[in-house]
């Protein structure tokens, strides 16, 4: 352990009334508390979205199963996808960005603290509005219907004629409202990174975490806007009889697809670039080497951000586009592999020759590297339009994007949780439980998503409620569902570990990992003002300079 300095004062603070504590959290404009609120809110929805996934998988464990009705199954896949993307992944990356960007750049708070609070609360209320549909949504099947049109809600299924009642409106309005929060947070992150860096921290000396959050925030601004526009157009169609997506009246269903995917594909990078940021901070510290190729990593991140806006229609190969569009989007999709490959090589080069410590954050990062590589390779396969024509909308695609989102993003997030938990809570997590979490989740992930490729290759379409026996899908679906229970057990251990350790864990000290970025120079958890005096930095690793005055960067 590098440091024994402990923030005794805050941990031993006198007990306060529950009302006082609640008031503090509700009225806070502190970026750290808001970051924690984002994260806790996302974990709650992670559990809910996980339960929805489990219900789907139990339904598919054997052919001709009737665990839930077809209507509930449709609601489950719609709510699972929507929840995981909009109310788990986005809030959680915003939470980490909120908490750590100001600390890493030596700032006292975000640029707009009140906007920050507004952004969190409106995002949270958006999620609650969506889930209120279970109670208040009078959809096709009667009172209390959640949306059931799939997470990308293709037209014309969302038209009033095919989606009666208000369940689809809850989906539209929930995302519209939470989108306001996303735009607010993105604006805040950009302003914070560009305007509040401490003295000496030029863009070239900024931690990669801050760089990647800057790129992510730019993507959010550009990507969420078309989605918001599309939601408004859909609401106009449904409420005022406009015909944007009504093919019977001169509208275009394909227009919705373009609007959705020009948001949807950059959204993947909105989520994965923060995962890159976590990995780019954890791997160097746990390899005891600076990141390999810092400028190239920055360049690759910006390139990925740029390219992410040129590839959206690869989600539409099966819709039927002309050969020029197919060729353009196939090639541009393949191009994403170049900067992404550079990143993977740079992470490996950082580990190469390093003194690697296999702590739990590093284990998750190593798994991330392997799994994200495989996810990229199946992505390259699907970028080939004729291949996509065969496997589009099959379980192969489902397996591919879960490899990205779970194998890549979620594993990166778990690494981040374990890496920064001591800073956020002031206490260390239970290492044995964290290893149990890692191995159970790893086994469960591979049981589920490795084997999910196979029924896809055998022709099993996504979103089907049940299937006939004897098509060669049975055993693979059984294995896939068994894997879900391993993952669920891992998640329960993870949540239990965080709860228990935040109360009973060993004191962590300021800098338990012997790390190099500024957040480790202040107390754990950091005081409200972050730094008593704003720091001055001279290199990319300011704490290294302090620890090694004979060998500064």
């Amino acid at each position: 352990m590098a440091s024994e300095s402990i923030a005794i004062g805050r941990l031993d603070a006198p007990a306060r009334q529950i009302g006082e504590i609640l008031h503090d959290w509700v009225t806070t404009v502190d970026h750290k508390k808001l970051g924690l609120l984002y994260i806790m809110y996302a974990i709650l929805f992670l559990v809910i979205g996980g339960i929805e996934a489990t219900i789907m998988r139990i339904q598919l464990i054997v052919p001709h199963n009737n665990f839930v009705s077809p209507q509930v199954f449709n609601e489950m896949f719609t709510m699972h996808g929507t929840t995981m993307i909009f109310f788990v992944a986005m809030p959680i990356v915003f939470g980490f960005g909120n908490y750590f960007v100001p600390l890493m750049i030596g700032a006292r708070d975000m640029a707009f603290p009140r906007l920050n609070a507004f952004s969190f609360w409106i995002s949270a209320f958006g999620g609650l509005l969506l889930y209120f549909s279970f109670v208040g949504g009078n959809g096709l099947y009667g009172a209390g219907n959640a949306p059931d049109v799939g997470w990308f809600a293709y037209a014309p299924l969302t038209a009033k004629a095919f989606s009666l009642g208000h369940s689809t409106d809850f989906w539209t309005l929930g995302l519209l409202v939470s989108g306001i929060g996303s735009i607010g947070t993105a604006t805040n992150l950009i302003a914070t990174v560009l305007c509040l860096r401490c003295p000496g921290m030029t863009l070239g000396k900024m931690p990669l975490f801050a760089w990647m959050n800057l790129v992510m925030a730019g993507l959010v601004l550009l990507a969420v806007s078309p989605l918001t526009a599309a939601q408004v157009m859909l609401s106009l169609d449904r409420y005022l009889g406009a015909h944007f997506f009504d093919t019977q009246a001169g509208g275009s269903a394909v227009l919705w697809m373009h609007f959705f995917w020009i948001f949807g594909h950059p959204e993947v990078y909105v989520l994965v670039i923060p995962a890159f940021a976590f990995v780019s901070e954890i791997i160097p510290v746990f390899s005891r080497k600076p990141i390999f190729g810092y400028p190239i990593m920055v360049g690759a991140t910006v390139s990925i951000g740029f390219l992410s806006f040129l590839v959206w229609a690869h989600h539409m190969f099966t819709v039927g586009m002309n050969s020029y569009a197919n060729s353009f989007f196939a090639i541009s999709t393949m191009l994403v592999g170049v900067p992404t490959g550079i990143k993977i090589f740079n992470w490996i080069a950082t580990m190469w020759g390093g003194k690697i410590r296999f702590g739990t954050p590093m284990l998750f990062c190593i798994a991330f590297l392997l799994q994200f590589l495989i996810a990229g390779l199946t992505g390259i396969m699907l970028s080939v339009a004729p291949f996509d024509w065969q496997l589009g909308n099959s379980y192969f695609v489902v397996a591919h994007f879960h490899y990205v989102i779970v194998g890549g993003i979620l594993f990166g997030l778990f690494g981040a949780f374990y890496y920064w938990f001591p800073k956020m809570s002031g206490r260390m997590y239970n290492d044995a439980l964290s290893k149990w979490h890692f191995w159970l989740f790893l086994i469960g992930f591979h049981l589920t998503f490795d084997f999910m490729h196979i029924p896809g290759l055998l022709g099993m379409p996504r979103r089907i409620y049940t299937y006939e026996p004897g098509r060669g899908w049975d055993v693979w679906n059984l294995i896939v569902t068994i894997g879900v229970f391993f993952q669920g057990a891992g998640i329960l251990i993870f949540v239990g570990n965080l709860l228990w350790s935040s109360l009973k864990g060993k004191f962590a000290g300021n800098d338990p990992w012997d790390a190099w970025t500024l957040e480790w120079s202040t107390a754990s958890p950091p005081p409200e003002y972050n730094f008593a005096t704003l720091p001055t930095v001279n290199s990319r690793r300011p704490l290294w300079d302090i620890k090694h005055p004979e060998d500064p960067d």
């Binding site: 004062g9 507004f118 001279n538």
Partner: protein
């Protein structure tokens, strides 16, 4: 930066309090108002009306929080010792570049142009050996040239065994062009790889690269040139690869070494003129 420049990042502030933005309930009130405003579309107009009122009240309250002056609270500073300890052992340094605070190896290497020159020289050596093969084994200098042209030229593919040994101007020009471009590209790649093997260019060019290249060609030749795949004599082919590499390596060795630019910051290597651009390179004399 010299060690003197490494200012402590966390130091005693001398401050008693730090001013921070005051907590406020108006953002949550406004967020709830906007949500209710939307929720009215799927519930009842009264919900929207309530939401609208709440949103406006939230906005007004928020504005009053920041106008005319932003509300702050003073948070007392808890002074803490900025203890930063480290578990790393001290190690002795190799005196490879005493003038640099931290040396990145290699300090010197060959320029990329050396690889290009080597590639061109190797091209000549390879061509000589290939022609020698044609004369010795097939009795014609044009035989290997026609085979090479078949990589990209359909007419060459159609040549019969009898005409393969004859001169064909189109095949000859295309083979020369193909050979020149490939040699140049291989030379460029060679030049780019030289910093990885700065001490043994002949080992890289004369042994490692020919073995790898021959292995690659052995696997893909059937796709890129079926005619050459049928007729190829692998002994001569590998020998010509070695000839290319050894000659290229010898030419490279004769070139002057240059100082590696990895120690320069990226902006300078990329040719940008930026303020503070030299910050990445520090010598003990010129911090």
């Amino acid at each position: 930066m010299s060690s003197m420049d490494a200012q402590p990042v966390v130091e005693k502030s001398g401050l008693d309090t730090v001013k921070l933005p005051a907590p406020t309930a108006w953002p949550i009130a406004m967020a709830f108002g906007v949500t209710l405003l939307s929720a009215g579309l799927v519930t009842s107009e009264t919900v929207s009306i309530l939401g609208g009122i709440l949103a406006v009240a939230g906005a007004v309250g928020w504005f009053l929080d920041v106008l005319p002056h932003e509300k702050h609270v003073s948070v007392p500073v808890e002074e803490e010792a900025g203890v930063v300890a480290v578990s790393r052992r001290k190690v002795e340094r190799l005196p490879v570049a005493p003038e640099l605070a931290r040396a990145l190896l290699p300090l010197e290497t060959y320029p990329i142009s050396a690889g290009v020159k080597g590639g061109l020289a190797g091209a000549v050596a390879m061509a000589v050996l290939a022609c020698l093969y044609g004369i010795v084994n097939q009795g014609s200098i044009w035989y290997p040239i026609n085979l090479l042209a078949a990589t990209i030229y359909g007419q060459s593919m159609a040549l019969t065994p009898a005409t393969l040994t004859g001169f064909h101007l189109d095949s000859f020009l295309l083979a020369c062009l193909l050979h020149l471009i490939t040699s140049l590209l291989v030379g460029l790649m060679y030049g780019a790889m030289l910093p990885m093997f700065p001490r043994r260019p002949i080992l890289l060019g004369g042994v490692i690269a020919p073995v790898m290249w021959s292995g690659l060609i052995h696997n893909i030749l059937g796709f890129i040139n079926p005619l050459l795949d049928q007729k190829i004599d692998w002994l001569w082919f590998v020998a010509s690869q070695f000839a290319f590499g050894i000659v290229a390596g010898l030419v490279v060795v004769k070139q002057a070494r240059v100082r590696t630019r990895q120690v320069l910051p990226f902006a300078m290597r990329a040719g940008f003129e930026t303020s503070g651009g030299a910050g990445g390179t520090r010598s003990k004399e010129n911090p």
